[in-house]
């Protein structure tokens, strides 16, 4: 098992190194002639107005939140799915209860109108 993780670690390092190397080589090959107009922020083609880090609406946060709850829920279900062939019907009913409780949460969010993109 540890060998597999070693391979994965090496692979991840290489996967980071190859694009980095490509970017580095391209940086050597490419011309460097900056000037103030070229280096100004493109934005949408106009002059930038105000600061770039604007405040966002709460909708993104709500999606993030619902996603987080469902992500944690599903991660808890994965060990059960691996053991599925060994669990009795009782285990399945238990998971149905587990999911039903959370589905009611989804229903609440839905009814509240928090899932609408406005």
């Amino acid at each position: 098992m540890l060998n597999e993780w070693l391979y994965l670690g090496i692979f991840l390092t290489i996967a980071l190194a190859i694009p980095a190397a490509a970017l580095f080589i391209a940086g050597l090959l490419s011309p460097k002639k900056p000037n103030p107009i070229k280096d100004s922020t493109y934005e949408c083609g106009m002059e930038t107005v105000g600061v770039s880090w604007v405040q966002f609406k709460v909708q993104y946060y709500i999606y993030g939140l619902v996603f987080l709850v469902f992500d944690v829920e599903t991660v808890l279900l994965y060990p059960w799915a691996v053991a599925y062939n060994k669990v009795a019907l009782y285990g399945v009913l238990e998971v149905i209860l587990f999911v039903a409780i959370l589905a009611s949460g989804l229903l609440y969010v839905w009814r509240k109108g928090a899932l609408e993109w406005v």
Binding site: M1, L2, W5, L8, G9, V51, W53, Q55, F56, V58, Y60, Y61, I62, G64, L65, V66, F67, L68, V69, D71, V72, E73, V75, L76, Y78, P79, W80, A81, V82, A83, Y84, K86, V87, Y90, G91, E94, V95, L97, F98, V99, I101, L102, S104, G105, Y108, V109, K112, G113, A114
Partner: protein
Amino acid sequence: MTGMQILFLITSAVVLFSSIMSVTAKRMIHSALWFVLALLGVAVVFAMLEASFFAVVQVLVYVGAIAILIIFATMLTRRALEDKGDQFNRATLVTLVIVSIIFAGLVVSLKSWAPLQNLTSPLSAEQLNVGVLGLALTAPDGFTLPFEVTSILLLAALIGAIYVAYERKEKKK
């Protein structure tokens, strides 16, 4: 020193450094990004302990969900991204002293804890199977009640957070 130990030292150094940076960084989003690096380091430690499931869950839940939620939350705050304020105040020194005392106490009490004295044996292939965890969670004589309570806890978190975050909208109607 084996390769494992060197790797562990490097990872721990990265985790510690990025944790400190995440506390002291001036801009909130930089803190969040350093925090992500610290979480990734912890995932590597899990992988080295052969806890595959927890290594992956660490990345999936913490980096993939919680960190993104934190970044979304920083974007909700007004002008926090350009905040150049001082990261330390008068309480910093006092807190540092208290935390050091607690940490020293932890180290001392852990040193006398029996399971830390001898090395644990490597897990067998059977124990590494994630299914064991699943069976324990859902078997009638296992952890059924905690499993279901988790679901209720998650539900409470969801409803509570939506209630707090969404109140403003309802008033408008």
